[in-house]
């Protein structure tokens, strides 16, 4: 059963990896190509030396992702704390409203967002792109962190209050260190969203050197009228997935513990 699931989720990735490593002839004809003309790194060379090169898009995406994550957590932590600790009935309404926005389909927003970007002069600015991203990520981040705050024993904060720690210090020395797994898992979810986001990036960014990965990769696919450059497309996708894979591998333990935290109680 497990291996079936693995096959289900990994097969497309494996196929992508395979596509990125073979020549176009091999891809089309399958086994009927002589050994020397089968495997190749030409696709990678192509995207690496393109203008702008693929690392430029990786860098752009990393910048937007980092800015989005930082902005989201900075806003979500105090919001989640406030809602959890002194929300009362109003807090419940706010939480419900957040939930409602969290399930609102993003695609319906991007035209309005585009008009906003034009009106405020935010188009073609990587850091500005993190504004709508953070806004879209905030509901989920707040809900996750709120559950995490609820799981902390209240005595801990009381003890810290008695020792004279004010709220910022309680957060820094007691609460946030204990929330580290939840913070890490929330950060990764936000980063993932930002890394994969397509419609807003497509409409807000038009200068090629500022593109993030998803629209950049889409441009590779549409770069020629006559052929579909499967190989280059796959190579760009593989390179684009590697950073995420690394991130998840490094933080996998905290992701799992952070995601299951709210599920047990609260």
């Amino acid at each position: 059963m497990k291996s079936l699931l693995l096959l289900w989720s990994l097969a497309p990735l494996a196929w992508q990896l395979y596509t990125s490593l073979v020549t176009p002839e091999a891809l089309v004809q399958g086994g009927g190509v002589e050994a020397g003309a089968f495997w190749t790194l030409e696709n990678y060379r192509q995207v690496w030396l393109a203008d702008p090169p693929i690392w430029r898009y990786l860098l752009n995406s990393a910048v937007v992702g980092a800015a989005t994550t930082a902005l989201t957590l900075t806003l979500a932590v105090p919001c989640a704390y406030g809602l959890q600790r002194q929300g009362g009935r109003l807090g419940w309404l706010v939480t419900l409203a957040l939930l409602a926005t969290a399930i609102f389909p993003t695609v319906l927003l991007f035209l309005a967002l585009l008009q906003l970007a034009r009106a405020l002069g935010l188009a073609n600015n990587l850091l500005a792109l993190s504004l709508p991203y953070a806004a879209l990520c905030l509901p989920l981040a707040v809900l996750l962190l709120r559950a995490a705050f609820a799981d902390l024993p209240p005595d801990l904060e009381d003890a810290a209050r008695l020792e004279g720690l004010n709220l910022p210090r309680r957060l820094r020395h007691v609460l946030l260190p204990l929330l580290a797994p939840s913070l890490a898992s929330t950060a990764i979810l936000v980063f993932l969203f930002s890394w994969n986001e397509y419609p807003i990036a497509l409409t807000w960014i038009s200068r090629p050197e500022l593109l993030t990965l998803p629209p950049a990769i889409a441009r590779i696919a549409g770069s020629s009228l006559f052929t579909v450059p499967y190989g280059a497309f796959a190579a760009a996708t593989v390179l684009g997935s590697l950073p995420l894979l690394l991130l998840v591998l490094i933080f996998q333990r905290s992701i799992v513990s952070g995601l299951t935290q709210g599920a047990i109680k609260g």
Binding site: D155, L162, E163
Partner: protein
């Protein structure tokens, strides 16, 4: 630093609680509490759960706000001060140790925040660790400690601050019975008899009687009686205090008119004739004593006698008139004489 020194009690020294109340919406958690705890005195707040004892403690700590009343500590009004300003230490039922910090860092955090120089801080921490025999555990995390060790760390953190008032919220309820008994004198030695008043919350009457100089019994947010364990036992203010203190519980005979008689199980004794006729239902043999369950015209009774005393299945019960406790059958207040 923690060793007790004889101090002349200055006027107004200690803790004074005046008309302290806390209401939440329609509910009254604590109503008009008046209490005084002298320097070095240990007062136990005793009562069933929901009686307001933890509420009182949280008000004293400054963790919750009072709806009315004043708290005076060494003569100054601290009612409006925040928890951090009060220099009040509290030992929590859960111990509330910071799980991500070592024992030494748990102790250091509060001192570091207040900007104490590193050298003085280290010295103080070392002294407290020594006093509580925690020196070898200083680098462990709370998760690596036993319940008793955690409790000692929590005590160390409380003592470290040289508090003006020490509060303990059921500090032993997470320990097993034997350890609790061993720790009682230890806790008294460490906490009581110094300069600071100690308020000790518990629902365990034995703990209250063993730890405290005086006991305040609370019920539904209202103070029932305050006094030494002996006073409370011998002259309970009302039926509730009489029934709450003492195990096995007092026998409350059916009310006769406006009055009701209460008799402690150890005050019943078999008499040759002319007593209350009773029949033995069953016995619990406790080693040092035995508890007899009896059936009589006045309802079921509990009698506590010496372990080796042999009794017939049918007997006559008597008691000394000075052991009679009479209560108003309506209000439950204790009445002066028979």
């Amino acid at each position: 630093m923690i060793e007790s020194m004889p101090v002349e009690p200055s006027p107004g020294a200690g803790l004074r609680i005046e008309g302290l109340s806390r209401r939440l919406g329609q509910r009254t958690l604590l109503a008009e509490l008046n209490l005084e705890v002298g320097p070095g005195e240990c007062l136990a707040l005793l009562g069933p759960s929901g009686c307001g004892k933890t509420t009182t403690l949280r008000l004293l700590a400054g963790l919750d706000a009072a709806s009315a009343g004043r708290i005076l500590l060494d003569g100054s009004d601290i009612t409006q001060q925040s928890a951090g300003e009060r220099r009040v230490a509290m030992v929590f039922q859960s111990y509330a140790l910071y799980p991500h910090l070592s024992v030494a860092d748990n102790l250091a955090l509060g001192l570091r925040i207040r900007g104490m120089p590193a050298k003085e801080r280290e010295g103080r921490i070392a002294a407290v660790l020594e006093l509580l025999q925690l020196t070898e555990l200083r680098l462990r995390r709370p998760a690596q400690l036993s319940g008793g060790q955690r409790q000692r760390v929590a005590l160390a953190r409380a003592l470290l601050r040289q508090p003006r008032l020490v509060l303990l919220d059921e500090p032993m309820s997470n320990l097993d019975a034997q350890l609790r008994e061993e720790l009682r004198p230890e806790l008294r030695r460490l906490l009581c008899g110094g300069e600071q008043p100690v308020v000790y919350v518990t629902h365990d009457q034995q703990e209250a009687m063993g730890m405290a100089d005086r006991i305040a019994v609370l019920r539904d947010g209202a103070l029932q009686q305050v006094g030494s364990a002996r006073e409370l036992y011998a002259r309970p203010a009302n039926r509730f205090v009489a029934a709450f203190l003492g195990r096995p519980a007092i026998n409350l005979l059916p009310a006769t008119g406006p009055r009701q008689l209460g008799l402690r199980p150890e005050h019943l004794q078999p008499v040759a004739q002319g007593g209350l006729a009773a029949r033995l239902l069953r016995r619990e043999w406790w080693g040092n004593q035995q508890l007899l369950w009896l059936e009589s015209a006045q309802g079921d009774l509990r009698m506590l006698v010496a372990a080796d005393q042999e009794l017939p299945p049918a007997l006559q019960l008597g008691w000394r008139p000075e052991h009679e406790l009479w209560f108003d059958s309506h209000s439950g207040e204790r009445l002066p004489g028979p």
